[in-house]
Every structure is written in structure tokens, then in C-alpha cells.
Amino acid sequence: MSTHRELIRRALGPRVQFVQGDDACAYGAVLAGCTFFAGYPITPATEVAERMAEILPRIGGCYIQMEDEIASMGALIGASWTGAKVMTSTSGPGFSLMQENLGYAIMTETPCVVVNVQRSGPSTGQPTMGAYGDMMQARWGTHGDHEIIMLCPASVQESLELTIVAFNLSERLRTPVLVFIDGELGHMRERLVIPEDHEFELWERPRATDRAGYRPFAPGPDLVPPFAPFGSGFRTFVTGLTHNEEGLPRASSATIHDQLVRRLAAKITNHLDLITRYEEFYADDCEIAIVTYGITARTCRDVVEEARRRGIKAGLLRLISIWPFPEHVVARWAERVRAMLVPEMNLGQIVHPIREAVAGRCPVVLHSRIGGELHTPAELLEALEALQWQPA
């Protein structure tokens, strides 16, 4: 009789593979212990669902194709309440449809992972082309006050690794976590090395142990309430309404609403040490910084090297966790550099929190590219040179 981990290894196949970013997200999920996937086909995210449909029955999990993305998100939340680790994947239009239930998952502290392989909008836009058009929708798409966690890989390998991290954060903090790639990365093939189990950690959601006096939404010391799955006899009532620590509706109480919503935000912002991830190149003597994320960061790495050869003291800050926004990291860079260049595959989204963090300490210049093509090294080099000669 094989163990579940052995089944996962056999289902994933060879340790080294040549696969797409979408595949890597699916592999990461399975390695993280995901046993339930609900989804709806959408370009360029469909391959995530296809991989999950192949793998999950082979390891005794469950794949269910729902009638739309609203239902996918609903089924995901229902499954998570049975104790399963769960994931869905989508792209812009589907992510728009998921917003209401995403807010429900936040309000009800339901662990779940959503992969968004972004494409260009608005509306149907360019289904087969990459873009980073949902960066702000991720932050503010669902209504009401909330915090959200979002990770932004830049390679196929990192898509796998950060999907595992996404599950860990989601379980540990009992909140939805978003993995945001784009059509370019989702459909790009690269060498992928599937890590061994000892090469990564797996975190589980905190579990309730004592039925007597159990209050399902009474937070532990780290503000996260211990979880009791449906069917375990704890008899938990879960509602999207403002609720007290017993989980019962208290929708008209200003005090209870204030306490609940502030706690839901604080349990995330108090754990920035677990969440915040970034990568720095030439941080020490950087004068002109590129600050970016996702696939764009790969072009920028080469651009910085070339700029250095041309005598420009360029550097790169690659943001890996985008939400909660790593304000202190950007602020630290703003203290030292003369200017920041922010290339984005949208008309300017993350440039806004960057400007807020910089708070006028240096100019922040947006370099947008939309239409489904990546920034070219030449255009970014030119933009860096223009900043280099700009009077202080």
C-alpha cells in the first residue's frame, strides 16, 4: 500500500520535466496536498484544470468542473470546510466572476488558493495574450474592507514553488491566497525540477481540539481561529454576515463588525514576516532602480546587466509578494536611489502603491506595455538612459 506522498510522486512523473507555467501551478498544488479542484475552462488557464483532472483521481482526490467560475469558487469553499486543501484556476473574466465568493472566503476564514493566469482586458480582450491587468482587481475586486495575499512568480520553477507557499499561507492564516501569473508564463515551457519533500515545508490550518465551549471564530493568539471541519461534530455555523465568535449573525452590531473586520485584516498584516518576498539585484550602489514583478522582471534582469556595462548604476527590485504591498521594502529603496522605473504589462497598476511608498522621495516613472507583448530590453534600456541623464 503506497502512502499518499508516494502516490503524488508517481502521479507527477519524472523529477525533471519540460512544462508550462500552468502545469507547474498544478504540480505545486498537488505537492502541497491539494485534493480538491473545482474549475471552469478559460484561456490561458485551462491547462491548470487539465493537469488537476488528470492527477487528482489518480491520488484519490476530486476534480469537479463547475458550470461557471461563481460555482467553482463556491464549490471550493464548500470543499475546504470538509478539511480538504483546495484550489481553482482562472483568467481575467473568470476572476471577475469569482469576486463575491472570494470575499465570502475572506469573511468566513476559508483556506483556498486561486491561480489567475492573467490576460488582457477589459472584457474578453485578448484571450491568448499575456497581461497583468488584474493586479488591482485582486486587491480591491471584492467589496468591503479586507486584506488579500498575492504571490507573483516569474518562472515555471517559481510557479510551482510559490503555489506551495500559497497553500501554506492560506492554511496557516485561514484566508484565500492568490497566485498570479500571465498568459506568457502560463504557456511558456521551461525546465522544471520537482522538489523532494524534504526541500519544502508544508503548513496545515490550525485545528480545534476541544468540543466543549468551542467558539469557531474565536481567534487564537495569532488572530487565527482553530478550524473544525464539517462532519467532525463541532457543529459550526458559517455565514458571510457579520458574526460573533460563536459564528452567529450579528449584522447590526457596529462593535462586532468593527472587531471582526479589523481582526481579519490584522491577522494578515501582522504576519508580513511570513508573507513578504522580494529579490534584489545591485541594491548596494543602485542609482536608477527598476521595480517590477512577474515575467517582466526577467527582461529587466538583463536590462540592468547591460545598463551596468554602459556605466549606469542600475538595479532591480523584483516584488514577489504584491499584496499586502511590501511598502517598507520599496520605501527603503526610495531612500537610496535617484529614480525608479516601473515597467508594467498594464496601463499602470502597481505603480500606484509604489508611488505611495516612495512618497515623493524620488521620481517614479511608469513604462507601460499592453497588447500582449513583453517589454523589449532595448526600450527599457532607453528608458533607463533617459532617467540617468535627467537632472536631479
Binding site: S2, L7, R10, A11, T35, F36, A38, P57, R58, I59, G60, C62, I64, M66, E67, D68, I70, A71, S72, M73, G74, A75, L76, I77, G78, A79, S80, W81, T82, G83, A84, V86, E100, N101, Y104, F230, G231, S232, G233, F234, R235, T236, F237, V238, T239, G240, L241, E246, L248, P249
Partner: protein, 286 residues
């Protein structure tokens, strides 16, 4: 069952199955949703369900508040999406019994698409759809089930849209168990809910339920006696309906117009999603 039905008093049911701290309920005077809860508890008692292993799921609306009153796991979800959440619960843990409370607006309006596909998959879920012809919680707007000509706050000159027959739809989609009853008679609903829970597969029990506050006040159905008389007069048993359609005089057939068929629309067997998934896993698991 009619003879074997051991009728517990409301007080006994309340102690055994309900969350005392949730009382009083939010329901208005004369509302039928409390009756639906009562019938459901009788049925649960009759079936002998283990509430530790039962999950009650609902959407948004008056009837969707019911899971909050029951001392069991409950998932009070977003508007119209109860069946999607319930499908996730059931697919991820088929050992749990899943019962959904929904309304006509929630289940047939905003959630109509989920209804179609949950029936198509034949998830083993029992759905109790409380049809009061109106959006009650928002103060009485027209619903997909509002009768022809019915007055609501958004049909102040009478409803011009054709109402939807949820049971005929469920039957056409192949739901293994479909029944509709008015709340005015308890025995049939209790029996149907119990049969629905026992049925392996999707079961829909539509309960015609008065809303004196929102629907009743605009349609001459505010007083209890009026309401209960109306429900008796406006409903026709399926057998009688079919007999009239086949053999009735033109006048008798004319009298069926605008009335509602009640009874058991379908009682059959069909493989469930969960059973088929388990078979698939047995076939391909490594």
C-alpha cells in the same frame, strides 16, 4: 409512514435540534418558513439523521436563514450559490448528508443555472425550496415564480412575466425525486422530505409557503384564513390534474389555469456524481 409517524411536539424538536440562542426567529407573523423548518425536523427525526454528520447549506433570503437555527454544521453562503457550495461539500466528503434550504429567488432566479447543473450531475443533495412567490427579505419584489398578474413592489401594475415551474424543470432534467406541497398540510411534506433525504441522488421538495408581509399584502392574502384557503383552492393533486387534462370537461380544464400542481412529480433512480466519481477513482488510482 402516516401511521408510524411519531409526532414530537415543537418544544421537543426545539430542544433536540435547534440552537436555543438563535430564538426568536427573524420570521414575520404568518410566515410559513417556520412550518417548513418544523416539517424538516420531523423528517430528520423520522429518518434518524446524525446531525454530527449533516451539513445544512443555504443561500440568501428569508428561508436561507434556516441553517442558523439548526444545531448542526451550517453554511449560509452567497445569494443563489447554495448548490455550488453544497456540491463542494458533498464531492469532497460524500459521507456527509447535505441538505439545502433555498428560496424561489435564490434557487430558481439568481441560482437557476446551479440548479440545472446540480441536477444534471445528480449530486446526492436534498433541496428544500421555499417558494413564496416573492423576494421577501428585500421587501417584496417580483420573483421568477410570481404568478401571472401578481402585484409586487416592482410589478405595481401586475406581473407580465410567465412564472417558472421549478418542479417540471427538475423533472425534465432527470432529478430522481421531485415533489411540491403547500405548507398547509404537514403530513405529505414530512413524508417527502424524509424520502428526499433517503433518496440516493438529487431530491427537490418545493414548499409553497405564504408570505403575508410581502406577497400577501398586495394580493389579498394577508389574513391567515384567507391564505390557507387560497393554498387549498389554488393547488391540484397531480393525479387529479392529469385526469382533468385527459377526461375533464372544457370548464374543468379551464379551472386549472393559473393553479399549481402538487404531489410527487418524480421518484426514480439514477447514478450519482459521487458514486460515479468513486468508480472512476477505483479505475484509475495509482
Amino acid at each position: 409512514m402516516a401511521t408510524g409517524l411519531r409526532i414530537k411536539t415543537a418544544a421537543e424538536l426545539r430542544t433536540s435540534y435547534l440552537r436555543q440562542e438563535m430564538f426568536p426567529t427573524i420570521f414575520c407573523d404568518g410566515c410559513g418558513i417556520g412550518n417548513v423548518l418544523n416539517y424538516t425536523l420531523w423528517a430528520i427525526d423520522e429518518v434518524g439523521l446524525d446531525l454530527d454528520r449533516t451539513v445544512f447549506v443555504s443561500g440568501i433570503g428569508c428561508s436561507s436563514r434556516l441553517p442558523g437555527y439548526i444545531n448542526a454544521d451550517g453554511l449560509h453562503t452567497t445569494h443563489g450559490r447554495a448548490l455550488a457550495f453544497a456540491s463542494g461539500v458533498k464531492a469532497a466528503n460524500p459521507d456527509l448528508t447535505v441538505i439545502v434550504f433555498t428560496g424561489d429567488g435564490d434557487g430558481a432566479g439568481i441560482g437557476g443555472n446551479h440548479l440545472l447543473h446540480t441536477i444534471r450531475r445528480n449530486m446526492d443533495i436534498t433541496v428544500i425550496l421555499v417558494n413564496n412567490f416573492i423576494y421577501g427579505m428585500t421587501g417584496g419584489q417580483s420573483a421568477p415564480t410570481t404568478p401571472d398578474g401578481g402585484f409586487t413592489t416592482t410589478t405595481p401594475y401586475g406581473n407580465i412575466e410567465h412564472p417558472m415551474d421549478v418542479c417540471e424543470l427538475a423533472k425534465a432534467l432527470g432529478a430522481p425525486y421531485v415533489a411540491r406541497w403547500p405548507v398547509v398540510s404537514p403530513v405529505q411534506p414530512v413524508k417527502s422530505i424524509a424520502e428526499g433525504i433517503r433518496k440516493r441522488g438529487f431530491a427537490l421538495i418545493e414548499m409553497l409557503t405564504p408570505c403575508p408581509t410581502a406577497y400577501g399584502r398586495y394580493n389579498g392574502l394577508k389574513a391567515l384564513e384567507q391564505i390557507w384557503r387560497w393554498y387549498r383552492e389554488q393547488t391540484v393533486l397531480i393525479d387529479e390534474w392529469e385526469w382533468i387534462e385527459q377526461f375533464g370537461s372544457p370548464e374543468e380544464r379551464e379551472r386549472l389555469r393559473g393553479k399549481m400542481k402538487i404531489g410527487i412529480f418524480q421518484d426514480t433512480e439514477r447514478e450519482t456524481f459521487e458514486d460515479r466519481w468513486a468508480a472512476l477513482v477505483a479505475r484509475v488510482k495509482l
